[in-house]
C-alpha cells in the first residue's frame, strides 16, 4: 500500500478530509455542476407536493397540447406546455422524477446489498463457492437484461414494485463482481490474517474489517448503477411494462407522448432531457467519486 493511499485511508480528521474533498469538487467544475444539478433534482422531487405548479394527474381537456410558454400559443401558466389530457408537463416531470429516482434508489439499495454480500462470500471463501457463484453471475450477465426484465413483468404484471423486483434481479451481478474482486485483493493481507489470529469470527472479519476497507470503490459502482437503473426504468416504462398510468414517470411520459411527435415535440423532449441529464450527472459524479477514492488514479489523470 503506497504512502499516499494509506494517508487517505486513515483520516487525521474526518472534517478536514470532507472539506478538502469539497474543495476538489469545486475545482472540478463539470463534476461540481453535475452534483448541483443532482441536488436540484433530488430537492425538487422531495418537495414535489409544494413546488409543483399543478396537479400532475388532472388536466383540463380544453388546455390540451399547449406548447411551452415561450412559444406562440403558449400559456405562461404551463412553462413546458401541456399533454394530450391538458396536464402540466413540468408538474408531471417533477412528480415523475420522484418515481424514477425512487426506483433507481431502491433497486441499487437492494441489488447493491445483495450483490455485495454475495461477492464478499464468493471472494472470501473461494474454491467451489466462488466457482459456483461466479458461473451464475457470468450466465446471468451475458443474458440481455431487457428480455429478462420483460419476462419478469410478463409473469408478475406491470407496476412499480414488480419493476423494482425485475431490475434488482438484473442488477445484482455487477455488485457481486466488484465486491469479489476487492475482497480477493484483501483476503491475503496481514490485516485479515491478524483478525483471524485474535479469534474474529468469519462475519466479524468480513463485516468489521474487510467491508469497511473496500467500501469506497463499491460506492462508485452504486452511483454509476443508479444511473444505469434510472435508464432501465425509463426504457421499461416507455415500452409500457414499467410504471403504469395514472402514475407519472419520465419514461412513461415519453411513451405517452410518442403518439404526438408530429405536432407536440415537447411531450417527449423535456422528460427525455430530464432522464438524460440525470444519468449524465450521476455518471459525472460517479467518475469524480472514483478519482476521489483512488489517489493513484487521481495523480495519473
Amino acid at each position: 500500500m503506497s504512502q499516499e493511499s494509506v494517508a487517505y485511508l486513515t483520516p487525521t480528521s474526518r472534517r478536514q478530509r470532507a472539506v478538502s474533498a469539497l474543495h476538489r469538487l469545486w475545482q472540478d467544475k463539470v463534476a461540481f455542476f453535475a452534483a448541483v444539478f443532482l441536488l436540484i433534482v433530488i430537492f425538487s422531487t422531495l418537495a414535489a407536493p409544494w413546488i409543483s405548479p399543478h396537479d400532475p394527474a388532472v388536466g383540463k381537456i380544453g388546455n390540451r397540447l399547449k406548447p411551452p410558454a415561450w412559444m406562440e400559443g403558449g400559456d405562461p401558466n404551463y412553462l413546458l406546455g401541456t399533454d394530450q389530457q391538458g396536464r402540466d408537463v413540468l408538474s408531471r416531470i417533477i412528480w415523475g422524477g420522484r418515481v424514477s429516482l425512487t426506483v433507481g434508489f431502491v433497486v441499487v439499495g437492494l441489488a447493491g446489498a445483495f450483490g455485495t454480500l454475495v461477492g464478499l462470500i464468493s471472494g472470501y471463501f473461494g474454491r467451489w463457492v466462488d466457482l459456483l457463484i461466479m458461473r451464475i453471475v457470468d450466465v446471468q450477465s451475458s443474458f440481455p437484461g431487457l428480455l429478462v426484465a420483460l419476462t419478469f413483468v410478463m409473469v408478475l404484471g406491470p407496476g412499480q414494485w414488480n419493476l423494482i423486483a425485475a431490475l434488482t434481479f438484473n442488477g445484482w451481478m455487477i455488485h457481486a463482481r466488484m465486491a469479489r474482486s476487492q475482497v480477493l485483493s484483501m483476503r491475503e493481507t496481514t490485516m485479515v490474517e491478524s483478525a483471524r489470529a485474535i479469534g474474529c469470527t468469519t462475519s466479524q472479519t468480513l463485516f468489521g474489517h474487510i467491508l469497511p476497507n473496500i467500501i469506497s470503490p463499491l460506492i462508485t459502482t452504486y452511483v454509476l448503477e443508479m444511473a444505469h437503473m434510472i435508464g432501465a426504468e425509463a426504457t421499461m416504462s416507455f415500452l409500457g411494462y414499467g410504471i403504469q398510468p395514472p402514475q407519472a414517470s419520465w419514461g412513461l411520459m415519453i411513451g405517452e407522448g410518442r403518439v404526438y411527435i408530429t405536432n407536440a415535440w415537447w411531450l417527449v423532449t423535456f422528460p427525455g432531457l430530464a432522464v438524460a441529464l440525470t444519468i449524465l450527472s450521476l455518471n459525472l459524479v460517479g467518475n469524480w467519486v472514483r478519482t476521489e477514492f483512488d489517489p493513484l488514479h487521481r495523480s495519473r489523470h
Binding site: V6, L9, T190, E193, S194, I198, G199, T201
Partner: protein, 322 residues
C-alpha cells in the same frame, strides 16, 4: 520432558499450489514445509532460523492454525488443534497469539490504537465499558506506551511504537504461547534492542512461551533457549542454544554461524561461503536438500534423505556425513 512440553509438531507438511492449470488444478506445488517435527517446552523461547523462503514463517502459521497443513499434527497442550471445530479453535486462540513482522500492516488502518488493542477483548467478550478502557490503558503502559496513544491512529506512531501496539494486542488476552515472526525486522535499528528487551521482560512477567522466528542469528542467540535451523522446508538441526552455537554439526548451520559477527575480533572463525543458489522449493533436490551446495556431500546424500537423529543431549541433526 513430556510434562513440560507445550507444543509438539509431528511430521508437519504444507504444500502450496503453484500456478493454476485448467479449472484451477495446480500443475506444481511449493514444498514450503516438508515433514517437520519438533517440540516447544513451556516457558522457553524456541528460535527458528533460516533464510527467507525456507518455511519458517509457514511453520509458525501452521502451529497457530492460520494455515491448514497438508498433513501432520500440531499438539498444543495435549490437544490436537487441527481437530478442533471453529468455535473451539476460536476459544483456543486466546491462548496462542502472533506478533507480526510488519505490525502496521496487521492493523485496520481506519481504527485507532485503542480499538486495535481492545479488539481481541471485545471479540472474546472479556471486557467492556470502563473495565475495557482500564485494561487497554494498562496494556499500553505495560508495553512502554502511554494511555494517550490510544487516541492516535497507527500511522502516526514510530515503527517501534507500532510494534509495541502489536505486542500489546498479542498479550491482551493473556496468552501462554506467542509466535513472534521476525518481530524486529521492520523496526528502526535504534529501537530494536528495546523491543527485544520488552519481549524478554514480558516473558518473565507473564510466563510466556515464544516461538521466535528470525533470519538473524545474533537475535536468535540473544533470546533463544533452544534453536532450530531450517533449510528449504526441512528442519536440519535443533539443539539447546549454547550447544548449537558452540558445536554446530550440520554443514548448513556451520555456514550460517560463520556469517555471524563475533564480539571478540581475535576469536576468528573459519569463514565459510556457500556456493550456489538456494534450490527452488517447487522442485527440491532429492535426498538431502543441502547436497547441491554441501562440500561434504557424498553419493548417498543425493539419494537418501537423512533422518533427524538425536546426537545426545537433545542435539538433533539430519545429516549423513556426521
Amino acid at each position: 520432558m513430556a510434562l513440560n512440553e507445550l507444543v509438539r509438531v509431528e511430521h508437519l507438511v504444507k504444500y502450496f499450489p503453484a500456478g493454476g492449470g485448467f479449472l484451477g488444478k495446480p500443475r506444481a506445488f511449493v514444498h514450503a514445509v516438508d515433514d517437520v517435527s519438533f517440540t516447544i517446552i513451556r516457558g522457553e523461547t524456541f528460535g527458528l532460523v533460516g533464510e527467507s523462503g525456507c518455511g519458517k514463517t509457514t511453520t509458525g502459521r501452521l502451529i497457530l492454525r492460520l494455515l491448514d497443513p497438508t498433513s501432520g499434527k500440531v499438539i498444543y497442550d495435549g490437544q490436537d488443534i487441527l481437530r478442533l471445530d471453529g468455535n473451539a479453535m476460536r476459544h483456543m486462540r486466546r491462548k496462542m497469539q502472533l506478533i507480526f513482522q510488519d505490525a502496521f500492516s496487521s492493523f485496520d488502518p481506519r481504527k485507532k490504537v485503542f480499538d486495535i488493542v481492545a479488539e481481541p477483548l471485545r471479540v472474546h467478550g472479556l471486557a467492556s465499558g470502563s473495565q475495557l478502557r482500564e485494561r487497554v490503558a494498562e496494556l499500553l503502559v505495560t508495553v512502554g506506551l502511554e494511555p494517550r496513544h490510544g487516541e492516535e491512529y497507527p500511522h502516526e506512531l514510530s515503527s517501534g511504537q507500532k510494534q509495541c501496539v502489536g505486542i500489546a494486542r498479542a498479550i491482551s488476552l493473556n496468552p501462554e504461547f506467542i509466535v513472534a515472526d521476525e518481530p524486529i525486522s521492520a523496526v528502526d535499528v535504534s529501537v530494536r534492542a528495546q523491543v527485544l528487551n520488552l519481549m524478554k521482560d514480558l516473558q518473565e512477567k507473564l510466563g510466556l512461551t515464544y516461538l521466535f522466528i528470525s533470519h538473524d542469528m545474533s537475535v536468535i542467540r540473544y533470546l533463544s533457549d533452544r534453536v532450530g535451523v531450517m533449510y528449504v522446508g526441512k528442519l536440519v538441526e535443533y539443539a539447546p542454544k549454547s550447544e548449537l552455537f558452540k558445536n554446530p554439526i550440520h554443514p548448513y548451520s556451520k555456514a550460517l554461524l560463520a556469517a555471524v559477527p563475533v564480539e571478540d575480533p581475535d576469536q576468528r572463525r573459519e569463514r565459510e561461503i556457500l556456493e550456489g543458489d538456494v534450490p527452488s522449493p517447487v522442485n527440491p533436490p532429492n535426498g538431502c536438500r543441502f547436497h547441491t551446495r554441501c562440500k561434504f556431500a557424498s553419493p548417498v546424500c543425493s539419494e537418501e534423505e537423512p533422518p533427524l537423529l538425536d546426537r545426545g543431549g537433545g542435539h538433533f541433526v539430519a545429516c549423513h556425513s556426521f
